[in-house]
């Protein structure tokens, strides 16, 4: 099928099988390899992207469901001047990225949480990121980074 949708603010059009996973469309057809595949069944969250503002596991979304939709990936998560976002800065400063394979999905999920306007309490951040697995950090520094970015936003 011919799929037309918006990816990171740009109109894109690709010819793909209707059941091709959004993750593969992004990675293979559009060359956006920031979203990763960790499990292929919606458990690890490494492939997290926003679909019309909703956090989804792109490994579970067929291409046909994204027609005319707005998709936001990690590749959009930098300021217009190419500088890291406040959240990305916080990830670096707090040591929230170790091996880094979960990091793009974590940042997409965490930014989605911060944009919701909920107060970034430790509990709320833990709940918001419960769908994103990390095996390196023990989550502590990820939580710290999201809280730091969230608190900086509010002041």
């Amino acid at each position: 099928m011919k799929l037309s949708f918006e990816v990171n603010g740009q109109a894109r059009s690709v010819d793909v099988p209707p059941l091709k996973r959004l993750l593969d469309v992004l990675r293979e057809d559009l060359g956006l390899t920031g979203a990763k595949e960790g499990c292929g069944e919606g458990e690890c969250g490494a492939c997290s992207v926003l679909l019309d503002g909703e956090l989804v596991n792109s490994c579970l979304v067929p291409a046909c469901q994204t027609a005319a939709a707005r998709v936001v990936t990690i590749e959009a998560h930098e300021a217009k001047d190419g500088q890291a976002s406040a959240l990305q800065r916080a990830f670096i400063e707090c040591g929230a990225a170790q091996c880094g394979i979960c990091t793009p999905g974590m940042i997409v999920a965490a930014q989605c949480f911060l944009d919701s306007g909920q107060p970034p309490t430790e509990r709320a951040v833990r709940e918001a990121l419960a769908g994103n697995l990390c095996r390196c950090t023990g989550y502590q520094k990820i939580i710290d980074a999201v809280q730091r970015a969230g608190t900086a936003n509010q002041t």
Binding site: R27, L32, T33, G34, A35, K36, E37, G38, C39, G40, E41, E43, C44, A46, T73, I74, E75, H77, E78, A84, Q88, F91, I92, E93, C94, G95, A97, Q98, C99, G100, I101, C102, T103, P104, I107, E122, V125, R126, E127, L129, A130, G131, N132, L133, C134, R135, C136, T137, G138, Y139, Q140, K141, I142, I143
Partner: protein, 754 residues
């Protein structure tokens, strides 16, 4: 090189941004599967579904169109059909005999992934089943037997005069590393008949040597290059050799690059796990809690092939007595073969198994004596000058007591025990538990001497480039290496590059394992950088006509006494154009006086040990058996935290992985086959399962480590599981002697007590 050799530093002990941080948070970091290799095909593995049997036929269904598919069996192997490691007993592709489920038998590759899956369904294996051995206690095939005998002549009298003899049996099971990036490689054939292998891995030279044996080609025709690696935890120590050999065979036959990326279920089912173990303790203890002697018997399940099992068992045996003085002891261990997928390296490498046993056993002893477990540990924990079961005298950097006290006091262990004892009502019971652990840093015994690790630096026009084969798998290797070089050369971190681990270009600094990277390789890099600084100072002195002994490198410049004479970059450029390239490679030198006898298992098992005290608070639901971890404090003596943020990151990550081991993670085996091979049913901790973690870094310097540093990678994995068991005991009165402490196991024990 002693600690006094290092002046105060602008970078050591601080936490600069990790050098790969910007790439990782932006999604720009390229992992293996993110890279398109021109003309690449995809590879898949045909595996046995039988645990033990004779291969009668590998049949490629004639009804299927194989013209677009590359097929490889054992007959296609140019060299030896082995995955080279310790024993060379594991075939790359089984040819006659199958020894475990998921054993690779054939390989296929195609341009098209759907066709590949279709092709996989058209390979039929005819295997005549044989009786499998699945119970390690029934196995008669032993990979390695180990024995430590320490003042055993007084063991009988120790048991005779004991106030109590306490016995216990402890059981731990398979644990999956569950790095989020699965095993992945791409093999590219070269015009010279060689092969270039890119992949996610810890040890490029393991892969290099395995390819050499398998392909029977000159080592100069092989390049193994590590790509950004999405976690390892030991799971990418030896296994990448297997998948790399597979991809290389396919690529060789296809004449094109072949990429192999495991699906999660395949990765869980087929790759190495933490060794299951059964540990028996028999302890003689005095009325006042003094440990008088012990007998420990350890059986580990190695799985079907040797892999690293002898070394895992050795480390397990060497740590089995825990961080305690034993006037007399006998420790026996064996690792045996079963018809299950081979077990191998996993963070802790045999220690989490035996450390769980000794620490749970200490809780049992405390109960039998009616003694506070903290008091019991205090009374017996190692102090400087004590002797280990191998007769090693602990002459430096012993922080067992310090780590124990830090965990106890910051968790308010004593107060909380008293409080929880008063609050024994309702459905939820709270408890607190402690553990004490030690972890030998670097290779065991003479391992580091045999390795002869080499690493160094080369001069660049701006600063320096670090040369080693040590890999960053997330722990921050390249950042601390840059810190070490920058510090010794007196330049800023951004003047240092770290070269890509490439086995055709880099010196062999040894495998990235055994908590050795910072202490052993980092120290060697620091030494090489110091030598480079000395050379440059001499060069600058001659150039400026000043005395060499007054010239130093600091703050990005060279100084004659207090006077800056030129910038580092100026002298570097001048040196390079004047004298040509400058490369300094050093070989690791173990500290003096270290002696180890492999035959008798006596001597200095490790040059030094790192120490940890862990306190865990839990809430146990008596109706459901669920254990919630509410708080963890881990105090770790790391010698010196070169980069405190990265160091604490190791502690926090290790603690949560260990909490998974304690409560959640169990690979269920049935007839030798893993049953829960998905993230949906093999559960690792999420951000909600993980508690808030408090890390205390203790710096008791190791005189021969860089700036005093010891290893930290594995230490955090050792203590949390027994601390959880201790906390559950404190909450419920029941000691669960096995892992994981699942609700059904706990409920069964609570029932039995009623």
């Amino acid at each position: 090189m002693g600690e006094e050799g290092f002046a105060s530093s602008e970078t050591i002990g601080r936490s600069p941004e990790r050098v790969d941080g910007a790439d990782k948070v932006s999604g720009r970091a390229l992992y293996l599967d993110d890279i398109q290799f021109p003309g690449q095909m995809w590879g898949r593995t045909v595996r046995s579904s039988v645990a033990h049997g004779l291969i009668k036929q590998v049949r490629f269904d004639p009804a299927f169109d194989w013209t677009q598919v590359i097929r490889v069996t054992a007959n296609d192997i140019p060299g030896e059909n082995v995955i080279h490691l310790i024993e060379d007993d594991q075939p790359c592709l089984a040819a006659k005999m199958v020894r475990h489920c998921e054993e690779p038998i054939a390989l296929i590759a195609s341009d098209d992934r759907e066709r590949l899956e279709e092709a996989l369904r058209h390979v039929q294996l005819e295997i005549e089943p044989l009786e499998p051995v699945l119970d390690p206690l029934k196995s008669t095939s032993v990979f390695k037997k180990l024995s430590i005998a320490h003042h055993v002549e007084s063991l009988a009298s120790a048991f005779a005069k004991a106030h109590r003899v306490v016995e216990g049996t402890y059981l731990v099971r398979h644990q999956e590393q569950m790095y989020i990036e699965p095993n992945a490689v791409c093999a590219t054939p070269r015009a010279d008949g060689g092969i270039t292998l890119h992949g996610s891995m810890q040890c490029p030279f393991y892969v290099h040597r395995a390819l050499q044996r398998l392909l029977k080609i000159d080592e100069s025709k092989i390049a193994v290059i590590q790509t950004v690696t999405g976690g390892g935890f030991g799971g990418k120590e030896e296994y990448p050799s297997m998948i790399a050999c597979h991809a290389a065979l396919l690529a060789g036959k296809a004449g094109r690059p072949v990429k192999m990326v495991y699906r999660r279920d395949e990765d869980i089912a087929a790759t190495t796990k933490r060794h299951p173990a059964i540990v028996k303790h028999r302890t003689a203890v005095a009325k006042d809690g003094a440990l008088l002697g012990c007998e420990i018997d350890i059986v580990m399940d190695g799985g079907a092939y040797c892999t690293l099992s002898p070394v895992v068992a050795s480390r397990g045996v060497l740590h089995a007595g825990g961080a305690y003085r034993w006037p007399a002891c006998r420790i026996e261990g064996r690792v045996v073969a079963t018809n299950t997928p081979p077990n191998g390296a996993f963070r802790g490498f045999g220690v989490p198994q035996t450390l769980f046993a000794i620490e749970a056993h200490m809780e049992r002893i405390a109960v039998e004596l009616g003694m506070d477990p903290l008091e019991l540990r205090r009374k017996n924990a190692y102090a400087l000058g004590d002797e280990t079961p191998t007769g090693q005298k602990l002459t430096w950097s012993v922080a067992a007591q310090e780590a124990l006290e830090a965990a106890a006091s910051s968790s308010q262990y004593t107060e909380k025990r008293a409080r929880f004892a008063r609050e024994k009502n309702g459905r939820k019971r709270r408890g607190i538990g402690l553990s004490l652990a030690l972890h030998g840093a670097g290779f065991t015994g003479a391992g580091e001497v045999k390795l002869k690790s080499r690493a160094g630096v080369e001069l660049t026009p701006r600063g320096a480039r670090v040369l080693s084969i040590s890999t960053d798998i997330g722990q921050g290797t390249i950042t601390i290496f840059a810190q070490m070089a920058a510090d010794a050369l007196g330049i800023s971190l951004d003047q240092v590059e770290v070269a890509l681990p490439d086995s055709s270009r880099m010196p062999d600094s040894g495998p990235t394992v055994a908590s050795r990277t910072c202490m052993v390789v980092g120290g060697t890099i620091a030494k090489a950088a110091q030598e480079m600084a000395r050379i440059l100072c001499g060069y600058a002195a001659a150039l400026h006509g000043v005395s060499e002994k007054n010239v130093t490198c600091r703050g990005g410049a060279l100084y004659d006494g207090p006077r800056a004479i030129c910038s580092f970059a100026t002298i570097a450029e001048r040196y390079l154009s004047d004298r040509g390239p400058l490369q300094v490679i050093e070989q690791y030198a173990p500290p003096p006086g270290i002696e180890w006898d492999e035959q008798s298992y006596r001597g200095d098992a490790y040059a030094c040990y790192a120490w940890s005290g862990t306190a865990v608070e839990v809430a146990v639901d008596l109706d459901t058996g669920e254990v919630e971890v509410e708080r963890v404090i881990q105090a770790c003596d790391v010698g010196k935290a070169i980069h405190p943020v990265l160091c604490a990151g190791q502690v926090e990550g290790g603690v949560v992985q260990a909490l998974g081991y304690a409560l959640l993670e169990e690979l269920v085996m049935k007839e030798g086959r893993a049953q829960n091979t998905r993230m949906q049913n093999y559960i690792i901790p999420t951000s909600l399962d993980a508690p808030h973690i408090e890390t205390i870094l203790i710096e008791n310097p190791y005189p021969y480590g860089p700036h005093g540093a010891k290893g930290v990678g594995e230490l955090p994995m050792d203590g949390p599981a027994p601390a959880v068991a201790a906390a559950v005991l404190n909450a419920t009165g029941v000691l669960v002697p096995e892992l994981p402490i699942t609700p059904d196991r706990l409920l069964r024990m609570l029932e039995a007590r009623r």
